[in-house]
């Protein structure tokens, strides 16, 4: 069974602006997302790739499903889930990279799909590192990217979570994307 009542309680606290609540929620969400992701990774074929935002929403449905139709709670939840998702994706990519280099796994022929997975992993790791640097310079814009990209939040939801105007989110998103794109291609 899921830990729903607990999540609901924490969500309520989040709704009241309790800053510790997010910290309480993160491990719960991480665990749920991780098990979901593991299942997806395992069954993943070339046709059915992992869609992180879909996972995040599924995690929400599973953990808080039915408990609350409150979109503000939902936004808060997704914000935390976005952080967790980023961590999971990057961890996974790193692990796969290590596995590849370690050469300790069964020997399959290296087909296109594997190369593509490899490229994705590298890109994700690069994004994570670049996003970290953006966070040092401009935490707000880093958060916008995290929420939009890893959490699948809408502009309005991001604006609510961060307490800024939708316009700020919109322009911040555009700017951050351009900056990340430039920084990442620079390193190539």
């Amino acid at each position: 069974m899921t830990t729903s009542p607990e999540v609901t309680k924490v969500l309520a606290k989040l709704g009241c602006g309790d800053p510790n609540a997010a910290r309480e929620l993160l491990p719960l969400v991480y665990e749920e997302l991780h098990s979901l992701a593991k299942r997806y990774f395992r069954t993943q074929s070339r046709d059915h790739t992992l869609q992180p935002t879909a996972l995040v929403h599924e995690a929400y449905a599973r953990l808080a499903g039915g408990a609350s139709e409150n979109w503000k709670n939902r936004a808060h939840f997704l914000a935390v889930a976005a952080q967790a998702m980023r961590q999971i994706l990057v961890d996974h990519a790193r692990k796969r990279r290590t596995a590849k280099r370690g050469g300790d796994q069964a020997n399959f022929s290296l087909d296109d799909a594997r190369d593509q997975v490899h490229a994705q992993d590298e890109r994700l790791i690069a994004l994570d590192e670049t996003l970290g640097r953006l966070g040092d310079i401009d935490p707000l814009r880093k958060q916008i990217v995290e929420l939009r990209y890893f959490g699948g939040l809408t502009v309005k939801e991001v604006a609510h979570v961060l307490g800024v105007s939708p316009r700020t989110v919109d322009s911040g998103w555009r700017f951050a994307k351009a900056w990340l794109q430039r920084e990442m291609t620079k390193e190539d």
Binding site: M1, S4, P5, R46, D47, T49, L50, Q51, P52, T53, H57, G65, G66, A67, A113, Q116, A119, Q120, R123, L124, L127, D136, I137, D138, V145, R148, Y149, G152, S171, W173, R174, F175, K177, A178, W179, L180, Q181, R182, M184, T185
Partner: protein
């Protein structure tokens, strides 16, 4: 950290980003004013920004593309659209083309479907609609709806939509290829209805529901595609008459389009109901409702708007050639092909569809939108009722007509019998015994199909006896019919144990619903034994039998065995089905209710909440099962004195049940009863009585006079009158309840001594001591038989006996039992509870009568204080407590205090 320079870069980027290249240069020249570093920074960012499709495209759907000359639409494979590359043409039509596409940024190698509108079709008006609609559609997030992922305007100025790629086949082809039976088709179709309902609630009408828009994935999950796309492509004709596209092209497929769509009238959610009906028509009958091939639009309009399609059961025996545009025969639909694809024979299929299924389809496809199902959910719920063997909404008139004479001749009481009878019969034909999961092997499903038909044949025979036309004058009751059936089952179908078990099970449930528990027990037991012998240890039918037997045991008061059976059923269902699953939820709900009845409140709650969560998710808020669990949860809240919470849950459940089941239904009566109970406890006696009467009236009409639920209503009406101080009325109600319970259960049932205790109490209050004594003595004897001596119910009854002894001047005999009762009750209830106050008052009166005044006085005063607090000054219980104090002071020889309390009482 943030620096001024960083902010400046951001601002400048923001300002020049949207400008065209020339203006950008001018603006940058001005702003940078020779600062080459700043300028290089901005330029590189702008470059990165323009270098789309970027990494992030999936979340950013609003970016506009630059203008390019339009290209030939026929050969766009390999072309880039937004962040995607078109890979394969899926379908092409007048309005647009659908491609399989893949993201090019390589981030998630995700296959999507892209619908490209043909550039020639694009009008400014369409672009505007496109933008508005896209937002509404993007919000549709339902597991049976293909998700809209993205959208934009392609390089040739044509809008495109990016959708979840569904690897599936159209629902009709899927059903035929998988040879789904009628029940399996209905279950699949029901999911589609729920998806449509979800969209309707969000004010999105599909407008073009047809088999090719409902794909079924290999795992059997249906996905509804192209929601609301028709609206983007075509405005309402009624809404915007001047729009060329809307008059040139109408967004419907003639085979499934409603009359109002074909006429070009205002489009409402009812058009989707009609189209759903047309889809169901084809799924069940294998034919299309109308033959519209090679007809002109005006001919189509005439046919669809003026003719009613033949009932599905009648077309299954027809042969139809479907011709292509060239007049050549493409396929031939014949009875054998159709029935084989449904795992049956033409005759059996015809019988299966005839009646209720015909009615359901025809109701959805009625000419007048307002006479169709009010919502897709109602449509789904009627299918659900059919599958569960409950009475359906569609075509009720016809059934009433058939039994018209019967009803007319026998007035109110028998029309209730007819209703009960109908639900019994519907229950017998039902699929309760059938395999509930598609993954159970096909041949089993076929065997089930055969069984269901055997069952219905058996019943048709029974009905022949009861047909008003055939046996004029003597109308059998539901009970007669059941007795007849139960008698026959012993000699018939002996070589078909499963069918026999199915019938016994259904009849057992029917007897249970009629309150005839001994016969129900025999039949359900036998059904379970046969099922175990034939089906092996683990089977969904066995779980159902266990669960229903548990319900019966709950009703007969055997909670121990009920719990064991329910847990066994739950474990079996958990082994068979994957969670979340509605049957698991149903078991959890039953178990929660049972644990609550056994006073294991903390254990009960997680089962109830878990069941509710699952049911809300899988069945929706308005489903009868969800309502039932809400009710059970309300009962739990009631027990922990959260009356407002309980009331709210019951009212929700009541509204949902009325909607789903109609006003005349035992569930509705139960909810009214429970609502009355909550209001009674909250002190609103008048409203409580009103609801309780409503409940009792329904029960007597639907269940007949001799039913335990009617006894409950009488008892609760008695309780309301007791609290109002109308003891005579209370006595009458209690006696009626008792008489029913004794008739039904004999004495050996926990409900009987409870009822005796209530009657004894009111007799005490009335001062009818001679009558009260045998009643209370019997109550105590019987209660002690069922429950241990230290059980609060035994103690409470013992307290009443003690009170009687005090009232009849036998205080010395009362002292010991009252003391014992008080000790036990004080352990079970909080100090301010009315039972504690009651027993303290009685003990106080006892001690006062024994002239132990010093011990008596605090007890009497405490009794008065908490009764006053609980019930208010004018409550009969409060006044009774005050009277006891007056007598006490009088006996003690304290005239001043006596007078003082008398004055208090007088006021």
């Amino acid at each position: 950290m943030h620096s001024d320079k960083w902010d400046r870069i951001r601002e400048l980027f923001e300002r020049v980003c949207d400008l065209d290249p020339k203006d950008r240069r001018t603006r940058l020249d001005e702003a940078c004013d020779g600062d080459a570093e700043l300028r290089a920074e901005i330029e590189s960012l702008i470059h990165a920004h323009d270098d789309t499709p970027s990494f992030f495209e999936n979340a950013d759907s609003g970016s506009a593309a630059e203008l390019f000359p339009a290209e030939d639409t026929a050969s766009r494979v390999g072309e880039q659209v937004g962040a995607y590359v078109l890979q394969r043409l899926i379908a092409s039509g007048g309005m647009g083309t659908v491609y399989e596409a893949v993201r090019t940024d390589g981030e998630y190698e995700k296959t999507v479907a892209i619908k490209l509108i043909n550039p020639g079709m694009v009008s400014p008006d369409m672009l505007r609609r496109f933008r508005i609609e896209r937002q509404a559609l993007a919000k549709l997030d339902h597991r049976y709806i293909g998700r809209l992922l993205d959208g934009g305007v392609a390089s040739d100025d044509a809008p495109y939509l990016v959708m979840e790629y569904i690897d599936g086949v159209p629902i009709d082809a899927y059903c035929d290829a998988a040879r789904l039976t009628v029940s399996e088709r209905l279950k699949l179709f029901r999911k589609v209805c729920m998806a449509v309902h979800y969209a309707h609630q969000r004010l999105v009408v599909h407008r073009d529901i047809k088999p090719t828009n409902i794909l079924v994935m290999p795992d059997g999950t249906p996905k509804l595609l192209d929601f609301g796309i028709a609206k983007i492509l075509h405005a309402d004709r009624a809404g915007r008459g001047g729009d060329i596209t809307s008059t040139r092209f109408r967004s419907f497929t003639p085979d499934v389009a409603s009359p109002e769509q074909i006429r070009g009238d205002v489009v409402t959610t009812a058009v989707d109901i009609y189209s759903l009906g047309a889809v169901l028509y084809t799924l069940l009958a294998g034919h299309r409702p109308y033959r519209l091939d090679n007809r002109t639009l005006s001919e189509i309009e005439k046919i669809v708007c003026e003719q009613t399609p033949p009932r599905p059961s009648t077309v299954v025996v027809h042969t139809e050639d479907v011709r292509g545009c060239d007049g050549q025969i493409r396929i031939t639909i014949d009875p054998v092909t159709v029935s084989t694809a449904r795992g049956t024979t033409p005759q059996r299929l015809r019988r299966r569809l005839r009646g209720e299924l015909d009615n359901i389809v025809m109701m959805a496809m009625r000419q007048e939108p307002q006479r169709r199902y009010g919502s897709a959910e109602q449509f789904a719920s009627d299918i659900d009722c059919y599958l569960r063997g409950m009475p359906i909404a569609a075509g009720r008139d016809t059934i009433r007509y058939r039994f018209g004479k019967f009803v007319k001749r026998n007035k109110v009481a028998t029309s209730a019998t007819v209703l009960a009878l109908l639900s019994v019969v519907a229950g017998l034909i039902s699929t309760t015994w059938q395999a509930r999961e598609a993954r159970i092997q096909r041949n089993i499903a076929q065997a089930n199909q055969l069984r269901a038909e055997k069952v219905s044949e058996f019943l048709t025979d029974l009905f022949a006896v009861s047909d008003p036309e055939k046996a004029p004058g003597e109308m059998p009751t539901a009970r007669d019919l059941l007795d007849e059936g139960a008698g026959r089952i012993d000699n018939e179908l002996t070589d078909e144990p499963i069918t026999r078990a199915a019938l016994m099970h259904t009849m057992g449930v029917a007897y249970m619903n009629l309150g005839v528990y001994d016969r129900a027990e025999t039949l359900l037991q036998e059904a379970l034994t046969i099922a175990r012998r034939v089906l092996g240890p683990v089977h969904s039918d066995i779980a159902t039998a266990l669960s229903d037997l548990a319900v019966l045991r709950t009703r007969t008061g055997d909670y121990e065995s009920a719990e064991t059976l329910t847990r066994e059923a739950l474990a079996m269902r958990r082994a068979i089905f994957d969670e979340p699953h509605e049957e698991i939820a149903q078991c959890m709900s039953n178990l929660g209710k049972l644990l609550h009845q056994k006073d294991k409140l903390e254990e009960a709650e997680p089962f109830l909440r878990g069941a509710l969560r699952t049911q809300q998710k899988l069945l929706g808020d308005d489903h009868p099962d969800t309502a039932l669990t809400r009710n059970n949860l309300a009962g739990l809240l009631f027990s922990i004195r959260d009356y407002d919470g309980a009331e709210a849950l019951i009212r929700e459940a009541l509204a949902a049940s009325r909607k789903a089941l109609g006003d005349e239904h035992p569930h509705v009566a139960t909810l009214l009863n429970n609502l009355a109970l909550v209001l009674h406890t909250k002190g609103d006696l008048d409203t409580a009585e009103k609801y309780q009467h409503e409940s009792m009236d329904i029960r007597r009409r639907v269940l007949g006079d001799q039913h335990p639920d009617v006894a409950t209503s009488y008892n609760n009406l008695g309780g309301i009158n007791l609290d109002r101080g109308d003891y005579a009325a209370a006595e009458a109600y209690f006696r009626k309840a008792l008489s029913i319970l004794r008739t039904l259960h004999g004495d050996r049932h926990p409900a009987v001594p409870r009822q005796l205790a209530n009657l004894g109490l009111v007799l005490l209050y009335l001062g009818k001591y001679a009558e009260a004594e045998p009643v209370l003595t019997e109550a105590l004897d019987l209660t002690s038989e069922f429950l241990p001596d230290d059980h609060p119910q035994v103690a409470a009854t013992r307290a009443l006996v003690g009170e009687l002894l005090v009232d009849t001047h036998r205080a010395e005999q009362a002292e010991q039992p009252l003391r014992v009762a008080m000790t036990i009750l004080e352990k079970e209830f909080p100090p301010q509870h009315w039972r504690i106050a009651g027993v303290k008052g009685a003990y106080g009166r006892c001690l006062s009568a024994l002239r132990r005044f010093d011990e008596a006085e605090p007890l009497l005063l405490e009794c008065y204080r908490s009764t006053l607090e609980n019930d208010g000054e004018n409550h009969p219980r409060t006044q009774r407590a005050a009277r006891a104090i007056i007598i006490h002071y009088n006996d003690r020889g304290q005239p001043e205090l006596t007078a003082q309390w008398r004055a208090k009482l007088g006021r």
